[in-house]
């Protein structure tokens, strides 16, 4: 009980962040990496970039889901320990963006659309690409959500 409270307190301001690119043009991925640089520095908020899903609390997913990336997106989602927060970064991750169209006939055959077609998403960040400031906002929101989920 005490140990749990201690863990919660320790976890509160140290959300570990993972980055996953499932398709798209890589622009949003670069913006996320930009948010890690000294200029924007998300480590101010205790967020540490981790490259394995098993260490991650918040997963930033960029890009639209392609037919080829469905399986590894599902697998990586399952590998993240609960509680987890999934953030869809960029218009592609939100809805499919430029790779799809509102009219299905004008969409690409290899693209499913937004990542919410495959895994549940907690926070959507629109923008093509979103500014690092938007990613910081999403991260703070995600950390709040994570604390709520740990309760």
């Amino acid at each position: 009980m005490v140990l749990n409270a201690l863990f919660r307190w320790a976890f509160r301001r140290s959300p570990w962040v993972g980055l996953l690119q499932v398709g798209g043009c890589n622009g949003c991925t670069i913006e996320v990496v930009d948010a890690l640089t000294p200029r924007f520095d998300i480590e101010r908020f205790g967020a540490v970039y981790k490259s394995t899903p098993r260490h991650v609390d918040i997963l930033l997913v960029t890009g639209c889901v392609t037919v080829g990336s469905v399986n590894f997106l599902k697998r990586i989602y399952d590998q993240i320990p609960d509680p987890k927060v999934i953030v869809a970064v960029g218009t592609c991750a939100v809805s499919g963006g430029i790779f799809t169209n509102r009219a299905e006939s004008a969409s690409s055959y290899a693209v499913l659309g937004g990542i919410d077609r495959v895994i549940p998403v907690d926070i959507y960040v629109a923008g093509c690409p979103p500014k690092p400031e938007a990613i910081i906002d999403a991260l703070l929101e995600a950390a709040k959500l994570l604390a709520e989920k740990r309760q």
Binding site: S95, I98, N101, Y124, E133, I136, D137, E141
Partner: protein, 184 residues
Amino acid sequence: MKLLKEILRALTRPPVTTQYPAKPASLPPSFRGPPDFDDARCIRCFACSSVCPTGACYVQDISDGERTVLIIDYTRCISCGRCVTICPTDALHHTREYSLLASRKTLYTLSSTEVDVRFIRCTECNQPITDVSHIRFIADRLSENLPEEVRDRALEDFKRFSSLCPACRTKLARKLGTSPEKWC
């Protein structure tokens, strides 16, 4: 000596890290946010919805075609600005919105404006053609830009053709023929 200079400079300068959540982000002057729509300037040509590459900007009929809305879906918009460029009357402009978050997709603020479309109908077959203000806009453009000697004649022709749907227009043009003598 060089290093000492660097240290002194580092001591006097503020840190490079932005103070973001405390201070608002600095946006470049030409920053392109998702576009917003100004109904007063719109002439209902709906060129914006036809150039949108992702289908974010579209026109929808609601309540059995009684009313029409122009929707800009921010979950799809990539802020490419093609609608802003193509708009002949600058009715669309880029916002300076940079942080668009939502916990659910439906929570996104759609820019949805009801536009009042008054269709002109074809005088031959009663098909709806386009909006009154669109035709008026083209007529104004013509009367501004055409040279004096052909203006009246061109406007007369325009009046005759603009009250017809494309199919009837083609029929009339066939009847009149395409030789230049008949036109000017």
